[in-house]
Each structure stands twice: as C-alpha cells, then as structure tokens.
Symmetry: C2
Subunit: 189 residues, 2 copies
C-alpha cells in the first residue's frame, strides 16, 4: 500500500471522491466528507482550506519535489529533457490507478473542480518555469518547454490511466516522441 | 480605427481596463465602468455577465472564427499546421497593441481575472480540439496539437506585444520553429 493511503489526508480524499461520485459535488458537505472518513470537520480543515481543495492535496509537495528534481539535473541537460527527467521521478504515480481515474472523472464532471484544477496546473507551470529560469534558460524557452512538457505529462497520465500495463517512464518517452512528430509537422521542410 | 473600437462593448472594455489599472480590480464597480463609458449599468449587462467578463469579450467570436477557419483548411493539412493557419487569420490581432498590453498587465495583477482567463483558454482549447477531431484526427493527437498550438500562440502574442514591428504571421512561424527545437531536444537521437 502506498505511503499516502493510511493517513488522515488520504482517507479524506477517498471519502470526498466517493461522495462526489455518489451524490455529486454540490450536494456534498465538508461535514459529510469528514464523517465518511471517521474524522471531525476540524481535521478536514487542518488539511484542506475548503471543499474544492480536497482533490488537490499533495499538489504543493509534488511541485516542490519537481522543482528539486529539476535543480538536481546534470548541467547541460536541455529544457524539455530536464522536465521529463523530473516528471519521471514524480511520486504522484504511486497513487492507485483507480483513485486517479475516479478523481479525473469527478473533476471533469464538476465545473468548480475543473476551475480549481486549471489554477493548480497554472501554479505548477509557473513553478517549473521558474525552476528552468534558475537553470539558466531564458524566459521564453523556459515557458515554452514548460507548456509542452505539461502537455506530454497530461498525455502520459491519460495513457497510464487507460492502460494498467503502461510504464510511466516509457509512456513519457513515447509522449515526447509524439510531441516531436506533431511539432515537426508544423514547420515546412 | 479597428471595427471593435467604436461600439458600446469596446467602450466598456476600455473603461474597465482604465479603472482596473487606476484603482484596482477589486475597488472597481460595474456602475463605475458604465459611467466612465457614458453608458448605463443595464447596457453593461447586455454585453457582459459580470465584472470579470468585461476583459474577455470577443472570446466566443474568436473561438467561432477559429473553428470555422479550421473547418476551411484544405484536406490533408497536418494538425498543428491547421491550427497555425487558423491562428494566422484571427481577428484578435487587429486590436491595438496598447490595449492588449494593458489588458495583459491587469489580468496578471488580479487573481480573479487570471482564473477567468484560464477558464477561457481551456474553453478555447476544447473547441479547437473538437474542431480537429471533426477533421478526422484522433483524440490524443488533436489534444496534443491543441496544447502545443496554444503554447505557440501564447509565445507569438507575447512577442507581438513586446515588439511593435513584429508581424503576427511571421512570429507564428518563428514560434513553430522554436517549438520544434524544444521538442527535438526532448527525444534522444
């Protein structure tokens, strides 16, 4: 069992996901989530600022982890390879696939959660771009590499969710190859 | 003077932008915006659902325009070239550069506007992906091409805002070449 599953935060996340799935996001209260997780409302707010946050726990840790991984990349590594190497070490992948699948479906079905997800992704992009700037890349390259790196990460996550046998690192490489094919198509020979 | 400048909507947009810039987004009311534009609050709500919407007017038209441009692309055009060709026809570029620069600064400085912008960009991405699906591309290619196409568009807009002499279509091509360089770097030879 993965590290995150046994703790209070993980229990709240799973309880929230179940309730959002069963009765919808709007009709679910923080009190219900806490009750389902056998915890108090007060413990809920120890972990999450509000109901919307409950599916985005761990985002800051992931961001910190990725920034540290970027900082640790050998000098001279290209901007996109730096990001891909960092993604390959992301602890997010240790979460059970079923959790990620259900989470993804619940977010897609609820506009307030989709908005929050967009904000979280934008925040992560900013952190990655800043980490690349710190490595000496110029602003435009850092931002462009981040945008395309995030596109590859999204594609990879999608493929890993769809295929139980998929290997995250291999899918990252495959995604980078697909990116190159799409990009090459955009420039006349 | 560009088409959009003379109308009520354009006046409301410019008034809002001035006020957000002068006194901040939070302290500006719809009544103040309407007054500055010499219009009533009622006319404001004829054009915009709320205060946040005022800087995103024209987004739906742009979306429709781009989808139509994608549909009109000759058969056999690649996914990314289809998007780039559509972007090259975007009427957005006819807005005065100073308006776009000020708008961009005001959005960057105000979290509620940044959130709304993320939602608008996500909505545009969905429309573009759907238009590419409609052209026969598979879901993953359509989405990947949209993600990278939007990254090139963002870079292009930024460069055009920074350089008065920049040509939008030329900068799109340059952005596509930069994208290819970043993408090629991500795949081992």
């Amino acid at each position: 069992m993965a590290r995150w599953e046994g703790n209070a935060r993980g229990r709240l996340e799973r309880a929230a996901l179940e309730l959002f799935d069963e009765q919808g996001y709007d009709r679910t209260t923080v009190a219900q989530i806490a009750k389902r997780a056998n915890l108090t409302e007060r413990s809920f707010y120890r972990w999450f600022a509000d109901k919307r946050e409950v599916l985005f726990g761990g985002g800051e840790e992931l961001e910190e982890h990725l920034v540290a991984a970027i900082d640790a990349t050998p000098a001279g590594t290209g901007a996109l390879p730096t990001l891909l190497a960092a993604f390959a070490t992301a602890p997010e992948v240790f979460r059970p696939r079923e959790f990620l699948q259900k989470r993804s479906a619940v977010i897609a079905a609820n506009p307030p959660l989709r908005e929050r997800e967009l904000i979280k992704l934008a925040s992560m992009s900013e952190a990655l771009t800043a980490a690349l700037l710190n490595r000496g890349y110029d602003q435009q390259t850092a931002r462009l590499a981040t945008d395309v790196g995030m596109a590859v990460l999204r594609l990879t996550t999608e493929r890993c969710m769809a295929d139980e046998q998929a290997d995250f690192a291999q899918e990252l490489s495959a995604g980078a190859a697909d990116l190159l094919a799409v990009a090459a198509d955009g420039v006349p020979d």
